[in-house]
Structure formats: C-alpha cells, structure tokens
C-alpha cells in the first residue's frame, strides 16, 4: 500500500482548501504537546475530490488524507488536535462526512415510535446521538 507522508498529504490537500485549517490546527496540537487519538474512515471517492470537497465540520479538525489501496477511495484520518472535541464527536463527524462525500446527504433516523422505560434507558442514551462512538 502506498503511503504518502503527512507533509505531502497536507500539500495534496491544499488543492481542496483543506490544508489551511489542517496546518493551523496541527500547529496548535504541537504547541500543546497533546496526543489525541486519530480516527479513520475510508471514503469511496478519489483523493483530489475528497480534498476539494471536505465538509465544513471536518475542516475544523486536524485531517490527513491518504489514497486507499485497491481503488477503494481515500483514507481520511481526523482528530481534535487540542482534545477539545470528544472522540465520539470526531467519529460522528467522520461518518457524516463520508456520507456527504459519497451520497451528498446524511441518512436521518426514522421518526420515533418508542417510549422510555427504565430497561431501555441505556440503549436510548446511545441511539439519541446517532453515529457517535464505536471504533472508527
């Protein structure tokens, strides 16, 4: 698999107007000395296309773009450089960004038909915040 060094990737992302935000946030990360976790998704769009159309919420994060192997699109890594954005929120932004880039829309959940009970309280806490959390 061909990996493009971070600096080159940042350069590639310039075309899409991503780099400015990415560099700015990355500088801040280096000054704070923090090491927040990276989260990743693969978007089934060419790297140039992803870089040129990065959704706004993703631009607010530190972002790396790599071409995915086997014509699978673009690997998008993101993190909150200063750690001010919770991991679950970074994951949600990545998933929604993937959908926006691939589909042009983000699937909304169906209308509620359920009622709260003590037993389903933990499940409702998870499903209330769609696309948040998990392993991505």
């Amino acid at each position: 698999m061909r990996r493009i060094p971070r600096t080159v990737l940042a350069g590639a992302a310039v075309a899409g107007g991503v780099a400015a935000a990415g560099f700015a946030v990355r500088r801040r990360a280096s000054t704070t000395g923090g090491d927040p976790r990276w989260h990743s998704v693969t978007v089934f769009r060419p790297l140039d296309d992803v870089g040129a159309n990065l959704p706004e919420k993703l631009r607010a994060l530190e972002v790396q773009l790599h071409p995915a192997p086997g014509d699978r699109g673009t690997e998008v890594r993101a993190r909150s450089a200063g750690g001010e954005v919770p991991d679950g929120e970074v994951q949600r932004v990545l998933r929604e960004s993937r959908s926006l880039l691939e589909v042009g829309d983000v699937l909304q959940p169906g209308g509620p038909t359920t009622t709260p009970t003590p037993l389903n309280k933990p499940l409702r806490a998870i499903t209330r915040r769609t696309r948040t959390g998990g392993l991505s």
Partner: protein, 389 residues
C-alpha cells in the same frame, strides 16, 4: 397510523404511531399492501437481540404502493407498486459498488452498536432493532423507505403482490446463499431449514444447476412444501441421522455446498439441544449453532458452507478443526437484496420462482400478535403469516 409494536419480550400489540415522513431527499413513503413475518423476527420477539425499545415497529419484508416521493427520487412515481429490499443501502459506497449492499457504510444511523460488537457496522434494516438503525418496520399502514432509487423496485404487472412480497427478503436471501455459497452445475447441495428462506435457497440452487438438492427440517408440512413447490429432496432430522443420510446420498463425499437457513435458535435432537439451551439461557453463549455445526461436519472436503440464518454474538463448540482440516470455505451475510431483486422479479414473472404457498396464513394487521403466535408455535402448518394493513 396503526402499527405492530414490540412492547417487551414476547409482548406484541397493535398501536397508534406517528405517520412516517420524508426525512431525506431520496426517501419515498410506501403504503404497505402486504407485510410478512420472518423467522429472524422471533429472535427480536424472544429478547435474544437486546437492542429493542418498547414501541419499536417490526417487519422488514413487504410490498406496497408509493404515495410520496422525496425531491431527489428519480426511479419511482406516486402510484408505483414496489417491493423493497429489507436492507437499506446507499448505492454509492465501496461496499455497494461491490454489490454487497447489506454492508453499506451509510445505511445505518446507529453504527456504534454493531461496530463495537462485531468490529465493523453493516448497513441498516427495516424493523430490526436499534443495532440495525432503529428504522420503523413494515408491519404498519405506511413506511418510509430511504435511498428508494437503490432499494425499491417496481413490480411487473404479471407478478402478484403475494409473489412479489417474498422477493423483499426470503427469496433474495435464499438466492444469495446459493450464489455466494458457490453452487455450480452438477453440485449436490444440502439446505438446513425448510422455512421460506431455506425453500428459496433450495429453489435457487436448483435454478443455478445443482444436480441434487436436499432440505433438512423436522416439520412434515414444510418438508411437504419443499417436495411439492420446490422440487427438492427432503430429510426429516427427527426420523433419521442427517450426517449418515447425507453421506449415503452423496456416495460418501458429503454435499458440495451446505446452506444453513436456521439461525440462532436452532433445534436439534439429543443432548446437544439441552447443552446449547442451558448455555444460551445462562448467557454463556448468545446463539445456538447446532445446524451450523452439522453443516460444517457434513460438508465435503474442500466444500462450502454458507450461513444464512441470523446470528448475533458468540457460539460454543464451533468445529474449527473440521473447517481447517477439511479445507472448507465458510461464508455468511445479511441479504444483498438490491443485487438480486430485479432478477428475481423477472423469474417470478416467468413463473420460474413461485412463493404464494409460503403465505399459509393471511390476516388483517389488527391480528398480527396472533399471527406471530401461530408463526412462532408453527401451529396449523404455519410457514409465514402475512398481514394486510
């Protein structure tokens, strides 16, 4: 509108829920004409898949009429008669590009649950718990269908509602088992389970050129349907030793392709059943895999086992040694309906694939709780209960 709701473990009721509405530009709203029970619903009903909330609407296999379309919908118009894939897929992600629609990256609004459980999240499904997106199901007067240009298909005039209904899930799931299980002309195929999915898998194997197809079950009425409507051979596992019977019928080789269409609440004669039930009830294993074990053991060297039945978590005593030493290929999937439904509708229109016999009990939606009880208990020869909202 009226809908059949899950109200707790083994509790169902028809209640009032809000009408669905267009929420994405690719949505349509379908007036449900027919909707059918599925064996996999029984896992939800019995609490084996613990991601249900009181009030969730069940049902994922249905046919209906388009009554509203989102701004971006191009393939459907109001008044179209459509059958809809039970799994929701965007049609644009890498998995959809590979025609593995049930693995869609963008069809599940709650991916964190299954990603944590299984490492990756499959797509969403109608009426199949919050692990699969919490989408309201089809046992209702109306249903919202996202990504309608990808997952809804116009039913040809020659195909009745009741025939098209089973293209939604049973027939497409069964076909997938035979197709991705690798059935080739001349193969011998064994199918565990003579419910609707097992019957459709057997029929698919025959249409793909299998030389012999054998279906294993314990209910005479279902085995009779297999002989009469599918044209396959049958084995009643309560009357014979399945492993010995399959060896005998295959010249000692074992079936080339074994398709498991039973799932996580499998039944088997003998002490294995008690062992699995105790472990499942104690939550030491989530699923009872006796049919999978038998399929792996029976399969010929170098053969293929396809797991079509729904499993949720972990199983005990999986015969990994047999899998490895016999060089088996074991594969499974939720259904890739979008891949198969157009072809199935064509075959249905030509009469190659008939499904009406599966609808043994047809009733109004108001009677759905009783329909599920009959279906679960296999009373009165019930293979599937069909509801008319």
């Amino acid at each position: 509108m009226k809908a059949l709701q899950w109200r707790g473990v083994n509790k169902l009721a028809v209640g009032e829920v809000p009408d669905p509405e267009i929420r994405n530009r690719g949505d349509i709203i379908v007036k449900v004409k027919q909707t059918v029970t599925c064996g996999s619903d029984l896992h939800l009903l019995g609490g084996y898949i613990p991601f249900m909330e009181k009030g969730d609407v069940l049902g994922h296999e249905f046919v209906g009429e388009v009554v509203e379309t989102g701004a971006d919908v191009q393939r459907h118009r109001i008044g179209d008669r459509v059958v809809v894939s039970s799994f929701i897929a965007c049609g644009k992600c890498w998995f959809c590009s590979q025609k593995e629609y049930s693995l869609c990256d963008n069809g599940n609004t709650n991916p964190a649950i299954t990603e944590t459980l299984w490492g990756q999240a499959p797509g969403g499904c109608f009426g199949y718990s919050h692990a699969m997106g919490g989408n309201p199901g089809s046992h209702a007067e109306y249903i919202r269908v996202p990504f309608a240009d990808v997952g809804a298909f116009t039913v040809p005039d020659e195909v009745t509602d009741q025939r098209a209904l089973f293209a939604s899930d049973s027939a497409s799931t069964g076909w997938m088992g035979a197709d991705l299980g690798g059935v080739q002309p001349g193969d011998v195929v064994a199918v565990w389970g003579a419910g609707a999915v097992g019957q459709m898998a057997a029929r698919a194997a025959m249409l793909l050129g299998a030389d012999r197809v054998m279906v294993i079950d314990r209910y005479d009425n279902r085995l009779h349907q297999v002989e009469k409507h599918v044209g396959a051979e049958t084995i009643n596992y309560e009357q014979t030793n399945v492993a010995l019977e399959l060896r005998d019928r295959t010249g000692g080789r074992g079936p080339d392709v074994c398709i498991e269409a039973v799932g996580m609440e499998a039944h088997t004669p003998g002490p294995q059943q008690a062992y699995d039930q105790v472990k499942q009830q104690l939550r030491l294993q989530t699923d009872r895999p006796s049919a999978v074990r038998e399929a792996v053991h029976a399969c010929r060297k170098g053969g293929s086992v396809f797991v079509l039945g729904v499993f949720a978590g972990f199983v005990d005593k999986f015969p990994l040694g047999a899998l490895m030493n016999k060089g088996l290929t074991v594969r499974g999937a939720q259904m890739h309906g979008q891949r198969y439904i157009p072809m199935l509708l064509e075959r249905m229109a030509k009469g190659e694939l008939t499904t009406e016999h599966l609808a043994t009990h047809v009733m109004p939606l108001d009677e759905a709780p009783e329909g599920y009880r009959i279906f679960k208990e296999k009373e009165d020869g019930c293979v599937r209960s069909v509801f008319l909202p």
